[in-house]
Structures are given as structure tokens and as C-alpha cells.
């Protein structure tokens, strides 16, 4: 690698003290990788959703029937 001459020159102070005030900073919660779902879990969820959908449909049908009778 040939050295490239930079326009900017770094400044490295050779004298004096360097002090940094350590102030507590607020922390963010970390990014969250989402876990992948296992096949069993996906099937369970699918079955549960289908079952709920079915129950909802049947209840709706039931309600309609009742209203019809009235």
C-alpha cells in the first residue's frame, strides 16, 4: 500500500492532561432478533387459529339463526 498524503494532519497533543468526565448515559434496549418458529409450533398456531375461526363462524351462524327465528 503506497502511503497517501492526506490534506488533514492529525493533532496529537504531547503535553497536558486529558480528562474525560464520566457521566451516566441513558441506555437503549438492544435490537431484538426474532426467534424462528418450530414446525410444531407453527402447526399448533395454525390449528388454534383455524379452530377459533371455525368457532366464530359457527357462533355467527347460530346467532343469525336465532335472529331469524325471532
Amino acid at each position: 500500500m503506497p502511503e497517501v498524503k492526506s490534506v488533514f494532519r492529525e493533532v496529537l497533543p504531547k503535553q497536558g492532561q486529558l480528562s474525560v468526565e464520566d457521566v451516566p448515559v441513558l441506555v437503549l434496549c438492544k435490537p431484538k432478533l426474532l426467534p424462528l418458529k418450530s414446525v410444531t409450533l407453527e402447526k399448533l398456531e395454525k390449528m388454534q387459529q383455524e379452530a377459533q375461526e371455525l368457532i366464530r363462524q359457527q357462533e355467527a351462524a347460530h346467532r343469525e339463526q336465532q335472529e331469524h327465528e325471532q
Partner: protein, 507 residues
């Protein structure tokens, strides 16, 4: 249609069954049974078809209800020694990542790369936490008993029949069926999986194993499964052990290990897996079992080793790839994690979780061109509001990373709009609010975050810093203590506590 009509209906039903068209198979069997109610072949095939429709791998299913968690009598030691219990995740010396880098779940474990029915629960420490932890996949409410989901599925399967259930359990002569080995096994699976009637299944299994003169390992395994579901773990262990003495079988090892895990004896389970590996060298499910236990004991390094062993045997194992990938991401190697997730994509996994992870990995590996398109795809693939919230939360991080705080603010707000209980989003929103100088708003958000998930240290610590700034030293001290409980090794919390103690000493 003419062709199908001329075909023997039972043969056609079999063909449907083999092609996994269970509904059609079942309908056809029903027709056959209407013509001849005593056709055993059709009856047996229909039970099998109905079972297959709702079949789930019993090894994977493991749901603890609140009662099981809070009123657990099977634990041997209340205060277990470090490294011997699944209940004290922080006690292992495995060198897992700290919560400062890797987010933790309610039970204090680092989040995992792969979720199974049993990983969802964790073991919350208090009743309040137990009530708050979402236990089923879709509802935020916990299951009131271990059978919550099973009961619901059972009733649903009955609802589909207008004229009652296919087999009337109460009128079944179990003793008669137990003597017919060709029918009894299908019937057992039907009762166990479709009806979820564990008591009757147990009766049938007991009669059948008696009929087989206690020599059939299959029935013993089924007995063990029933005992496990009923919470009789020692009886289940006996049955599985007995079955193993008849016939070495991978499944039996897995069931037995499940019993030991439930009894909170991870070391015994590990030994058992190793015994199993002696008989079945390189068996993937056994290796995965070992890796899972290490992971649950917060020993991520050895877990990763075992997941790598899994990949040596089966290089398409999604669980192993996902876990190793997430581990790389949280050990500051997002570019390697990216390669693992890309491998999953090549294998055909196509869901919002994967695209979300790809997006995050791309961003932190400085491949900015792919980041936003990945997140867009993830958003296009979501199936629930919770997932949507998590993705917006992560996009918020990207926005923070590029310094676009307005976008970040909007993202976290969106995350909260989709899931009002997203404590992480509350915390991050609070930090952004404070930057804008709205102290009261930030305080409110932090308090919400802290009450939503007390296991996270961030809201407590932030609240401590904030209170310290406005001069409320007492609240600051209390919050710092909570933060210390959640994450004892956190250096900034320690410093905070030290300065506060000095302050109080001066006063």
C-alpha cells in the same frame, strides 16, 4: 369423475390418506361406514385420518400451566446448587452474554434463536409474572391449566361434526378393543391426539399392555406419555425405562429426557442423552436435546458447540442454524450471523422473522443496501400485530443508528401502536423524549416500561439516571437497586449506587 366412481372407495381413501388429503379420506370413509357400519378397515382408516389432521409431535409439546409452575411439588431441592437446575438460569459458569448485549426473556435467559412450544413459557419467579407471561402463541392470557390449548383443540375437532363425535368415548368397550392389536393402536392415537381424553387413553393403554403380557414396548411408551400428561412424572419415568429395556428407541430417550427436564434434573437428562448417543451415534434429535439443555442453563458456549455437531450431521437443521446465527449476532459478529441467516433463506425458510433478522444483520454488518428492503419484506410477511410491533421496534434501531431520530421516534410509536405492551419500545421512546427535553413524558414512559417488564434492567437504570439528574435521590436509589437486581454485573449501576451512597453518607 367416472373413473373415481368405479374405483374401490376404500382403496381411494387409502390413496387420499397416503397423499395426506385427510379430509377427503375421512369423508370417503364416512360414506363407506354408512353402507357398512362394521367395516373395520374403513373405521380404522378414518381414526387414523382424523388423528393425522391434528397430530403434533408429542416430544415437542410441553406446556406448563400456572398451577404446574407455582405449585410444583416434584422439585427435589428448593434451593438447587449452581449449575444443576433449570430454574436458576444465571447460575451457570458458561460465560453467556450479559444482558447489556443480549436481551433476556422474563425468566432471565438470553433470548434464543429458535422458539418451540416449550421455550415460550420459561419459568417466571412470581405469581404476578406468571400471570403476565404470554403462554399460548396468540393470546396474552396464560393458560389456566396445562391442558388449556389441548382442550380448545379437542372441542374444535368435535365442532366440525354436525352429528356428534365420530367415536362416542363413553360407549366404547375398551376391553374389547384392547384385545385387537390391529385396531387398538390406531384407536389409542385417536383418543390421545384427537379427543385429548388422556384418562380413557390411559385405560386403553393399560388394558392393551396387559393383553400383550407387558412385552410390547410401544404400549409402555404410550402409558408413559399418558402419565406425563397427567403430571405423574415418576410413573412415566418407570414406563419409559421399562420400554427402553425392551427396545432401544430414540423417541423413548427423548420422552424420558423430557420427564427429567420437567423434574428439573438437567444433569440426569444430559447423561441420558449421552447414553442414547452411545446407542445411536450422531443422532440429531439427541444432540439437539443436549444443546437445548445447555442453552436453557445459560451455557451458550457449549450449546453452540453441540449445535455445530448437529450441523455436521444434518446441515439443514433450521434450529441449529438459527441458534448459532443469533449467537454470532449477539457476540458482535453480525456478518457471520448474516451468513447463517442467508443459508436459511437459501433453504426456503420464508417468513417475517427471518427477514427481520436479515435486516438487522445487514445493518450491523454495514451492508446498508439490503437493510431496508429486508425490513420491507418482513413487514409484508407479518401475520400478527406482535410481530409487526417487533419489526417496527427493530427498524427504530436502524433509524437511531443512522441518526434519524424523527424516524426512530415514529418507529417506536408504531411499535407501541401495534403492541401496547412492548416495554423495550417504551424505554427507547423515553430516551428519545429526554433528548427533546420532555422530562415528565420520559419519566412516564420509563415507569410504564419498568412495570411491564421488571426483568429488564434498562428502564430501572434510566429512571435512576433521570431521577438523579432532577435531584430526586431517593427514587434514583430505589431504581438503581432494582436495576442491580435485574443485572448485578452492570458497571454503571454499581457506580450510580456508589455515588448515591456517598451522597447519603454526607447527608
Amino acid at each position: 369423475m367416472e373413473v373415481t366412481l368405479s374405483m374401490d372407495p376404500l382403496f381411494l381413501a387409502w390413496s387420499y390418506f397416503r397423499r395426506r388429503k385427510f379430509q377427503k379420506c375421512s369423508d370417503l370413509c364416512t360414506k363407506v361406514l354408512e353402507d357398512n357400519p362394521f367395516d373395520q378397515a374403513a373405521w380404522s382408516l378414518k381414526t387414523r385420518a382424523l388423528t393425522e389432521m391434528v397430530y403434533i409431535d408429542e416430544v415437542e409439546v410441553d406446556q406448563e400451566g400456572i398451577a404446574e409452575i407455582m405449585l410444583d411439588e416434584s422439585a427435589i431441592a428448593q434451593v438447587a446448587r449452581p449449575g444443576t437446575s433449570l430454574r436458576l438460569p444465571g447460575t451457570s459458569q458458561g460465560g453467556g452474554p450479559t444482558p447489556a448485549i443480549r436481551p433476556v426473556t422474563q425468566s432471565g435467559r438470553p433470548i434464543t434463536g429458535f422458539v418451540r412450544p416449550s421455550t415460550q413459557s420459561g419459568r417466571p419467579g412470581t405469581m404476578e409474572q406468571a400471570i403476565r407471561t404470554p403462554r399460548t402463541a396468540n393470546t396474552a392470557r396464560p393458560v389456566t391449566s396445562a391442558s388449556g390449548r389441548f382442550v380448545r383443540l379437542g372441542t374444535a375437532s368435535m365442532l366440525t361434526h354436525q352429528d356428534g363425535p365420530f367415536i362416542n368415548m363413553s360407549r366404547l368397550n375398551l376391553a374389547k378393543y384392547a384385545q385387537k392389536p390391529n385396531l387398538s393402536k390406531a384407536l389409542f392415537e385417536y383418543i390421545f391426539h384427537h379427543e385429548n381424553d388422556v384418562k380413557n387413553a390411559l385405560d386403553l393403554a393399560a388394558l392393551a399392555t396387559e393383553h400383550a403380557q407387558f412385552k410390547d414396548w410401544w404400549w409402555k411408551v404410550q402409558l408413559g406419555k399418558c402419565y406425563y400428561r397427567l403430571g405423574l412424572y415418576r410413573e412415566a419415568e418407570k414406563q419409559f425405562r421399562s420400554a427402553l429395556s425392551h427396545q432401544e428407541f430414540v423417541d423413548t430417550y427423548l420422552y424420558l429426557a423430557k420427564v427429567y427436564q420437567r423434574l428439573d434434573q438437567p444433569i440426569t437428562a444430559l447423561n441420558l442423552f449421552k447414553q442414547g448417543l452411545d446407542h445411536f451415534p450422531g443422532e440429531v434429535t439427541l444432540l439437539t436435546g443436549i444443546a437445548r439443555i445447555h442453552e436453557e442453563m445459560n451455557n451458550i458456549t457449549s450449546a453452540t458447540e453441540y449445535y455445530k455437531d448437529v450441523l455436521k450431521q444434518d446441515n439443514t437443521n433450521v434450529e441449529a442454524i438459527a441458534c448459532i446465527g443469533s449467537n454470532h449476532f449477539y457476540t458482535d459478529q453480525p456478518e457471520i450471523a448474516l451468513r447463517f441467516y442467508r443459508r436459511l433463506l437459501q433453504m426456503g425458510v420464508y417468513n417475517c422473522q427471518l427477514y427481520n433478522n436479515l435486516g438487522l444483520c445487514c445493518f450491523y454488518a454495514q451492508q446498508y443496501d439490503m437493510t431496508l428492503s429486508s425490513f420491507e419484506r418482513a413487514l409484508a410477511l407479518v401475520s400478527s400485530d406482535d410481530e409487526q410491533a417487533d419489526i417496527w421496534y427493530n427498524i427504530g434501531h436502524v433509524a437511531v443508528g443512522i441518526g434519524d431520530l424523527t424516524l426512530a421516534y415514529q418507529c417506536f410509536k408504531l411499535a407501541l401502536a401495534f403492541n401496547n405492551d412492548n416495554a423495550e419500545a417504551y424505554n427507547n421512546l423515553a430516551v428519545l423524549e429526554l433528548r427533546k427535553g420532555r422530562i415528565e413524558q420520559a419519566k412516564a414512559f420509563l415507569q410504564t416500561a419498568a412495570s411491564l417488564s421488571p426483568h429488564m434492567y434498562e428502564p430501572h437504570f434510566n429512571f435512576s439516571v433521570l431521577s438523579d439528574k432532577v435531584g430526586d435521590l431517593q427514587s434514583s436509589y430505589v431504581a438503581a437497586q432494582k436495576s442491580e437486581d435485574a443485572f448485578p454485573e452492570h458497571v454503571d449501576t454499581q457506580k450510580m449506587l456508589k455515588t448515591l451512597r456517598q451522597h447519603f453518607a454526607v447527608l
